[in-house]
Point group: C2
Chain length 472, copies 2
């Protein structure tokens, strides 16, 4: 047992609550192991690192660039104005669809060097915020004119390198993106760099699987029902790579998408997917915002993860997920920072709960039973669903799981006089300053005293990359 | 002009936008003055400090202690369950009213030493977050058994001392609190320490006015229509102190309150107040959440400030303010951190906007005209309304205004490659780490490089105070 390092924590968060005076070992492979004798004390409050189940890394660099009301020229594309929410007699207002135009324009300037610089900065920020695993829903595959890079996986590998530099673990989900709408229309000029035929997509997936190993897992991503025709969906799901890996899909984020799906396929998106695919625990349905009661219950029963991105969903005006009903039905959920307008599991979970309070005018909605803590309920749920969506044994402080952990800053006045009953609620709901002091990923310290091990170099390169983008 | 210190900023935020390469002087009294020659460069992005128009300081120490679902024993008091939102067939859920029971129990242990320790810590956190002025809506006047302290203003002076130690400016609003409901019922045992007869209240006000001066302004606070009978309201408003100072009132925060007001006074709270008092620019209507279209338009026309506390209103499940209609009607608004579950103008303004996006499923709601920035619109509005509610010349970088300013951290990757068009949107919407690097209040630096000038001592005393409270 010479290669087991031993650690000790005042209290360590387990699936069933806090364990006091906890000891644990970490083996040479970066996994938790049975504890030997007592080792170094690492802090008073120790939590598993949080998986981030949905990321479009390049969007980090445009955080704050789309909060200015658009000129009419970037109003929603015809057919995408949401009739339920359009305001009669007023100029068209910004929406998800006008934001998407801004995002496409921004994406068009990003090549592999920029992507690596942006993603590495983002991943440093994720680690500092408490995310130790990221699922990258990656569709920026080709050159801006749509021709492949050589090799074709160049952009994917930029993400792999960025994750390695930052020290975050990556579930890389290359995205299949084939059409511009439910009617099967071809990709627009700005969407061409996202596109693949099914065979080329499956080749990309195989190529990337060969890179799997410490810190890299791959999976399948279907962009959405509007971008993947039914036949292609069946073909990809039948192929070997999809049978033993995570499968992610954007779904039911926008009312316009639900209406288009009803009009072209005679069913709502989640309803259609549950009817036409064997949705199970491999799946992560990202957003799943607009659900009927029946869809909510069926999704919960399927064992799939609802991939919630509350801050992005607020920023984009998507709407609110039916949290209470989904939890009551035993549904699994996790969180993602998606567009990276914000990078914080605290803000995601806090406002997941607060959105529900504003809608229901009650408090403590996620706490379904008397005595339950909202903070504990949500942190526990997001660890479990995030690990499942990542396809990896993470999110738990138990032997065999990857040694990802966070040490909270017990010197912060925000945690003064907090005990096991209140510390997670204070972590998630009190104040606005980061409370994650140290972060270990795969047995290695990547953040100590709020500083990432390589943050100055990565930030300098990021600054240079975005300065170049701003001039382009 | 020997006593004018001169400063220079890359860009300084003025009421009509950014002024490049700005210079300004600060006189010996801590006010902005005409600039002399060029002086010290203080940063690239300089903003006026933000007034915080609503604070109950003692509640800071309970942040995170009420996010656990209550046992049925702390269910809403009879008559306070909201029939519109109660869920048939389910156990009663936590609400504003059950939260209030927790808060009353917490308040009962707080004396002047605890109040000073908690408030000083809170005010340090406010300054670090960018608030340079606070309106303290103070109702914790007496001993827990309801008897006055000697002198009667002891608790008020604890707040004055806390503000002086921290270096924040204070608008102290002692609260008139007389009855436990619209029906005129007496105060409950837990409310007794809040109560005054009108004559005792006016004496307290006069005593506190004698302390006014640098860093202290006083005003009138009426707790709410349910706690202040109509005759008492008229009597206080007719007295000299109320004729030249800010007048604040809690109003229309909860649906239950609107219903009780309708039942007992035949009008909704804001409607009743506008009908029975000369509401004008001296007034701050705190929350004003539940408004009809007519109340929204009348409140906007009155010139009063709507005192919005979006994070507390989300935490308490209050509801959403009709922001777009109010702005279109030319209404004035400001922000407050109220219960201090969060202390950040960024989170208040971000989620003021995001709440609207979730409700309307559109983006950039506060930006009422094409080309408007949401960040600029909201920061500008909150400066103006906050200054008005504070009763002081603050919130502007112009000669004669108090020299309160913030310098943003232009080394942060969140502001990399941001220009005048995008920096305020990035400040308010991007990321989760504090971007306020230096803070000046009344011409003095109180925060430099993210550190308050006295934060270690104040935090240590706070920790001791809350440890004592936790044992009590």
């Amino acid at each position: 047992m010479a290669d087991i390092r031993n650690f000790r924590a005042g209290s360590a968060w387990q699936a069933d609550g806090w364990a006091q005076d906890a000891t644990f070992g970490i083996d040479a492979g970066g996994r938790f192991a049975a504890a030997g004798e007592r080792g170094e004390t690492i802090g008073r409050w120790v939590l598993p690192g949080m998986p981030n189940l949905h990321s479009h890394a390049f969007q980090r660099a445009m955080a704050g660039l789309a909060e200015r009301r658009g000129e009419p020229s970037i109003a929603p594309a015809p057919g995408h104005e949401d009739p339920k929410t359009a305001i009669p007699g007023r100029a068209p207002q910004d929406s998800f669809w006008s934001w998407r135009e801004t995002m496409y324009a921004f994406a068009s300037a990003i090549g592999p060097d920029e992507l690596k610089a942006i993603a590495a900065q983002l991943y440093v920020e994720m680690l500092k915020a408490g995310y130790t695993q990221v699922c990258e829903f990656h569709y920026l595959h080709h050159r801006p004119d749509g021709t492949p890079y050589a090799p074709a996986e160049t952009m994917s590998l930029a993400l792999v390198e960025a994750a390695r530099e930052a020290g975050i673990a990556l579930t890389l989900l290359p995205v299949l993106y084939m059409s511009g709408g439910f009617d099967g229309r071809p990709l627009s000029a700005r969407q061409r760099r996202f596109g693949h035929a099914v065979d080329a997509y499956l080749r990309l997936l195989e190529t990337l699987r060969a890179h799997e190993g410490d810190g890299l897992r791959t999976g399948v991503a279907l962009h959405s029902l509007r971008a993947v025709p039914g036949a292609a969906l069946r073909e990809v799901l039948a192929a070997a790579p999809a049978r033993d890996c995570p499968i992610h899909i954007h779904i039911a984020e926008q009312v316009g998408e639900v209406q288009d799906c009803l009009a072209t396929r005679g069913a709502r998106p989640v309803e259609w997917l549950l009817d036409h695919a064997a949705v199970d625990a491999r799946w992560c349905l990202v957003h799943a915002t607009h659900l009927t009661a029946d869809e909510t219950a069926r999704l919960a029963r399927s064992g799939a993860v609802a991939g919630l991105c509350p801050v992005t969903e607020a920023n984009l005006g998507d709407g609110l997920f039916p949290l209470a009903d989904y939890l009551d039905a035993g549904g699994t959920l996790g969180i993602g920072s998606d567009s990276h307008i914000s990078v914080s599991p605290v803000e995601e979970l806090r406002w997941l709960e607060y959105g529900q309070r504003l809608a229901t005018r009650h408090r403590n909605v996620a706490a379904r039973h008397p005595g339950d803590s909202v903070g504990e309920t949500l942190w526990r749920a997001a660890l479990r669903g995030g690990a499942q969506a990542s396809g990896l044994p993470v999110g738990e402080l138990r032997p065999g799981a990857r040694a990802d952990l966070l040490v909270l800053d017990d010197e912060s006045p925000l945690l003064a006089a907090r005990d096991e009953r209140s510390v997670l609620d204070s972590f998630l709901f009190a104040g606005n300053t980061p409370l994650v002091r140290h972060v270990m990923r795969g047995g290695q310290w990547v953040v100590r005293d709020f500083r990432h091990r390589d943050e100055a170099r990565i930030a300098a390169r990021y600054r240079q990359a975005v300065a170049t983008l701003a001039r382009s």
